[in-house]
Symmetry: D2
């Protein structure tokens, strides 16, 4: 554990293990229909997967698994873990260990102007974006430093970790393992990315998108046919 | 919305709506077995429910629903929402609204000395309990005040809520609705309370227990026979 | 228990208990956003619920519960119970009780001609519909009678129920309790009904539709605003 | 597809794909606690996994996946698919394809005498076991043959598969893919096997046990340390 305070704008996402493929999805779908679908409707793996996505036959997309290790701020982890169906989690505990002084700050390019109505707003870069971002960086870093000192002092005074941690901000970085099947990953991506191909627009916060795009790259690499079919069909949950 | 800063040691839990009863559980169980169970094995509702708990026939306990409104610190809400199966949530969002300056502090009676091994420790009251608690109160309140000012300043400078909130501590109070069926409530209580009747001991943090005991009172009131059977069988999840 | 053999074309669906309302959904959604949504975006309950459906904010629709008692053939129950998320079940067990001789047969109006490709086919009424339906009725009733005799003979010979039941057809009626939240009900209805208002067409078998339309009536009665918003937005799962 | 009628007493279970190991479970658990647990409480992987099982820290056991292809009678598949949490399924559909004439019959060694009370009974071998089993075989085979002819006749008369299948018995074999994480597999095994090491006895039907023991062998092979810890702790769900 390092006690060197760090400030970072971006999360990290690492693939820990994975199983399953487009071929496995096809195999699972065919147990249902035999080869009838091939003869009459689709000629190829690509055709069958496209058919499944288009008609929302979601269950074949559950036969696979991918485990991510995610390093992101607590406010992002909290949104992430609202996904329940098909997801499993293990996260660093502030009860069981001292946390490390790694904190999130926005980059100067991070859009800082809110436009639109509640629930549907987007953040854009106004003329004063750099000013606002720098002001946020300054306020956040100063506050993070202040509460980190308080945290350390409490621990040194013998106050339990589970009490002292109450002072730590939701901008502190946390680490967790997240395991999901392909269907659950697609559901996550449909809500946590903004993409022109999406039939139904989503309005995720930038910082969970930063996690989602890293997951999306991995998803495309492991299930390329499924990924393409999902995009062609409007990135709607299957 | 009030901007009067408050410091509280205890959560509130309110029952918003409820449906189902011990009788409904019995009715659901009997669709499976007809009246055979009654004739041969159990004479009464109490006997049947006891039989179901003892033999881990859990599904009849899912035909019911209770909705709580919970007001507790974020660090408690985070533990709470790790319960996925049978639970539904809606929580105050720091993206969509400004939060209120209500913060958690321990009471002076809150046990402040950690005893036992990691993963199995308990907190007890040492001779210096009051000193430690007061020190924690002081550090927490001062830090909460500091970061709340930073939060307000950022908002006034036009920095978006979703960025400014990063500075807020996990000790700030949040509000959420949580809906569950009786089986899911029992599972929650078995992990989040410490009780001499429990066959398998649990080591929950005091602050989530403070929420759990309020839920347990409601559970006992609405499903008294189930509640008694669960206690008699070691408070194990069914 | 009756041993009078019956043949029926249609299921029954009874509402056993229910809790929650459109108002509860609105209340749960507002804990997230405060009153901001009202001031800026929506003026009314109807407006807010429509906003939630359109933008796929599904979680507020989980704070409610409805319990059905369903009487339908096993082949329908099998499709029904593939719905896992948000659903709970208790069903009559052929291990624990003798089943009753109630069997499904199609009415003479039941469409008997398959049109379209595998996975997307619809059944229509050809000119010979009545002939086919009567032929099916005859074959089914004769077979049901044959195997019911075998079932009874095995039971009388002391063969265990759990062995003897292997002979019973998937066309025999079963009974189960099914409990779900409004979100899960909408998901079920979107896949198990055929409706012109649906953005994504579904191809459910007639007999599960017969169950679904009875559930849909109840859903509309208890959550009328949600029901209308869901229809206006293409009956897509939220 | 074969139209050769077959009668079999036993299911088959094949492992299709798998990911995860005892080491992955340890890795997921340690993100929570750092290395504290090792230093103070446990010295080894085995010690940590034993600690997790004993204290019902179930979440680390969700980071893994195993996919089975199961061939078993419909009455077994129906019990199997009542397991919802952590399980995914795709099964042969009698709507989309003609089923094959493969049917279950008990072996002559299959216990045929029911002892004990409803919900807790066991089947034992009485003196007349062979007689009863042969009688059941005879009745079942004759009935299976009768309804298979009816099924074929209906299909040849142009009656849709989804109607004709109503005549098929729950003793016919079906095929499905089932994917689960290690925690869900242990939960399944605790309810679907009878074992002297179990703290809480279960009373599964022989035929689902025949499936479960084949799954248990695979589970032991892939997660040997977890498997041993689960047995040492009474085969209770974690």
């Amino acid at each position: 554990m390092s006690n060197q305070t760090t400030f970072d704008a971006y999360p990290t996402v690492e693939v820990i293990q994975q199983v399953g493929s487009d071929g496995m999805i096809v195999q699972a779908a065919r147990v249902s229909s035999g080869n009838d679908l091939d003869a009459a409707t689709v000629k190829t793996q690509t055709g069958l997967i496209n058919f499944l996505v288009k008609n929302r036959h979601g269950s074949p997309f559950e036969h696979g698994s991918i485990t991510f290790r995610v390093h992101c701020p607590i406010f992002v982890a909290r949104e992430f873990m609202r996904h329940r169906a098909g997801w499993s989690y293990n996260e660093t505990s502030g009860r069981y260990r001292e946390l490390e002084p790694a904190f999130w700050v926005p980059s100067t390019y991070r859009p800082m102007t809110q436009e639109g109505k509640p629930g549907e707003y987007r953040l854009t870069q106004g003329a004063d974006n750099r000013d606002k971002a720098e002001k946020a960086q300054e306020q956040l870093c100063r506050s993070y430093g202040y509460v980190w000192s308080a945290y350390r002092e409490m621990l040194e005074a013998g106050i339990p970790r589970e009490v002292a941690r109450a002072v730590l901000p939701v901008g502190i970085y946390t680490d967790f393992y997240a395991t999901a099947n392909p269907r659950a990953v697609m559901h996550f991506l449909s809500l946590r990315t903004e993409d022109d191909r999406a039939t139904v627009p989503s309005f995720p916060q930038q910082e969970i998108q930063d996690v989602a795009v890293r997951m999306e790259e991995a998803f495309e690499a492991y299930w390329p046919i499924t990924y393409a079919a999902w995009n062609e069909n409007g990135r709607v949950p299957v």
